[in-house]
Symmetry: C2
Subunit: 394 residues, 2 copies
């Protein structure tokens, strides 16, 4: 039997993280691999009351087909919360998506023809790369330092690729590096996008989970020509299981996104959209996010302290002011897959770094997550990992 | 500003039904347009208990990231229920999707390269056409009679298109026609698919809503070579707002679907997956479906009776044994868009038929939905529509 699959199958494989996460389902494993929020902070008792309210007040509407753009009170609440970040919008600028992941896939649908160029940070979010790969683009990677994308390299990439479809960036507490783009670079990014007439996709799932340092407005705040498509999610500030994200953009972008959104799933789960909306009406989500920040700040500080004590001094790592991840860079001759294989024998997992580079390489890197493990497992896990690393550095 | 959108935007527009449904948001409109289930049958009180149970027993898991394939107890329950339809499967054959709509979009991703041929019924489900169009195929339409696709025409299409990627069919109470493929034709369909080595996508959202006539097993039941990809949903038997559908297929198909599913939204809303699963544990969904059948049988009989009384005798219409739709065929010189424009002035809506034909034409047809309106509105709506039609036939 000849299955006759489409060509794009050759570019899309089950993600490596996914395979690693399967290993970590074993509860004995101390996992710094996934990007999971701390489940013990989910507002479970509050959501019991919220569900009853949804079914009492909007029972039929919460279970029936709904509009593609999303639940209007939720879009209003998003506009209001984004105003606090420095983004002015109306509900016409917002569509609700099944997590920010769907917003990335839809961006591929809207923009990418086979062979098109897209520009991204090096390294960048693996699942964004995989979403885009289904549309078979070329990736141009822009190198980073602790202030985010290096703007000279970005300008070079824009000059050499005048038809680039968009620049994909995660300015706040980037996945996988935990780095944040500085204010100066954000202004330069907008200046270059205007100069080279290119769209920016700003992916900001972690921005609200800042636990240290000064707030910096999103790139979208500085957008003077309506060229920034802003993507965010409730996954890190509320509950990822509900798969609620959104796109905020000018209507001439959204009129392209909406038909595709309709074709891929008609609309996002309306019961959960109303849950999120009612939760924000009935409870103080800002207080809830404060709790998340406190826990993640503590875990991040603990992990960094343990790294200082346990890792060989030569190893470089980032010091995130928010988000979920620390990025580790080893000596160039050390392959983090070898480290992973040794570490997993000691029941400690992380994600080797090469998958975050769309064009490969940089095998001497890996990503650590600190949001999902309690103190004693952070201490023990970094201790075991430190032993493996010290052995590799002998 | 030059937006540089992808070519596929030229093939995908906001669906016409969507625009019509916007008109029907006015509560004065008697709408036979959408394909909405009867909201008054949703098990709202039961779902209050279900939500509490989900949060009590699986609070953290129901709000956390989850596996791409879907919640195992839900997949088990689906296997068990499909066994009653004549489909043998294990959970390895099932992935959960965001409604069957997402299963259609993923099918496009898995199979369709630009310019590929796919074969479908004429007419067929508009939103399937729109999902596939994002991948820019050619559609070959196979004509139908009251027993479904005409097999001589299908064989001709297969002969002329040896590289067709798949046959898309809705054998039970088809959307938009309400027709059901006969047993003999199902056997012939499998025979032809085997002979011409082509994949079948069987879309069965309505099959369980049979309220008259003899049960016929799904095409998948007769599948001898693992070439039928079966798609179904909880939208018509439970609640569409939760967006829970599934794909049942051989693992060599699913290993293609799973990476794409992961890339488009990571996984389907897990809270609602557990809701559906717990609902089936705590309550008798078969009894619930019986209630739906009784209501739809009644509404269908009432609508047909009204059509007999009100429509000109020359007008042809189908007599569905289940599902949600009646298909109306007017004299060839009458354009159903004209009828729609006159009818909407009398606050009655339906869907003109030409959009259900991927290559256009057949403007003398339209689709009526009977599941979503109470008795008095069915009587009044068909009365008003009958008047418009009688005027057109003078």
């Amino acid at each position: 039997m000849n299955h006759k699959f489409a060509k794009r199958n050759n570019y899309v494989k089950a993600s490596e993280i996914r395979e690693i996460l399967k290993v970590t389902e074993n509860p004995e494993i101390i996992s710094f691999a996934g990007g999971l929020p701390a489940a013990e902070l989910f507002p479970i008792e509050e959501l019991k009351k919220v569900c009853i309210e949804v079914l009492d007040k909007e029972g039929e509407a919460s279970l029936q087909y709904s509009t593609t753009e999303g639940y209007i009170p939720l879009r209003k609440a998003i506009c209001k919360r984004m105003k606090n970040l420095g983004i002015d919008s109306t509900i016409e600028n917002i569509i609700i998506t099944a997590g920010s992941q769907q917003a990335l896939d839809l961006s591929g649908k809207v923009f990418i023809d086979e062979g098109d160029t897209i520009i991204c940070e090096s390294p960048t979010y693996l699942a964004a790369l995989n979403a885009f790969k289904a549309y078979i683009p070329n990736f141009i990677e822009v190198s980073m330092d602790d202030d985010g994308m290096i703007m000279e390299d970005l300008e070079k990439a824009l000059k050499e690729n005048p038809n680039a479809k968009f620049i994909y960036t995660i300015p706040d507490f980037q996945n996988p590096t935990g780095r944040t783009m500085s204010l100066v670079r954000r202004l330069k990014l907008i200046e270059l996008a205007n100069k080279y007439d290119v769209t920016i996709i700003e992916d900001n799932p972690y921005g609200e989970v800042r636990f240290a340092g000064e707030k910096i407005p999103p790139v979208k705040h500085f957008d003077t020509e309506g060229r920034v498509i802003y993507i965010s999610t409730f996954s890190k500030i509320f509950a990822p299981g509900l798969r609620i994200g959104w796109i905020c953009a000018d209507t001439d972008f959204l009129e392209r996104y909406v038909p595709f959104k309709q074709n891929v799933d008609l609309h996002t789960n309306i019961f959960s959209q109303i849950m999120a909306s009612k939760y924000m009406e009935m409870y103080d989500i800002e207080k809830h996010i404060d709790k998340i920040r406190d826990v993640y700040r503590h875990r991040r500080e603990l992990m960094i302290q343990c790294i200082k004590e346990e890792f060989p001094k030569e190893i470089k790592y980032t010091l995130p002011d928010g988000g979920l991840f620390i990025w580790v860079e080893l000596a160039t001759h050390i392959d983090s897959i070898d480290i992973f294989n040794k570490s997993i024998k000691n029941n400690v997992a992380f994600v080797p770094g090469h998958s975050f580079f769309p064009n490969g390489g940089c095998k001497n890197t890996f990503r650590l997550n600190y949001s999902n493990m309690p103190d004693e497992r952070i201490v023990e896990g970094i201790k075991r990992l430190g032993k493996v690393l010290r052995d590799a550095y002998i």
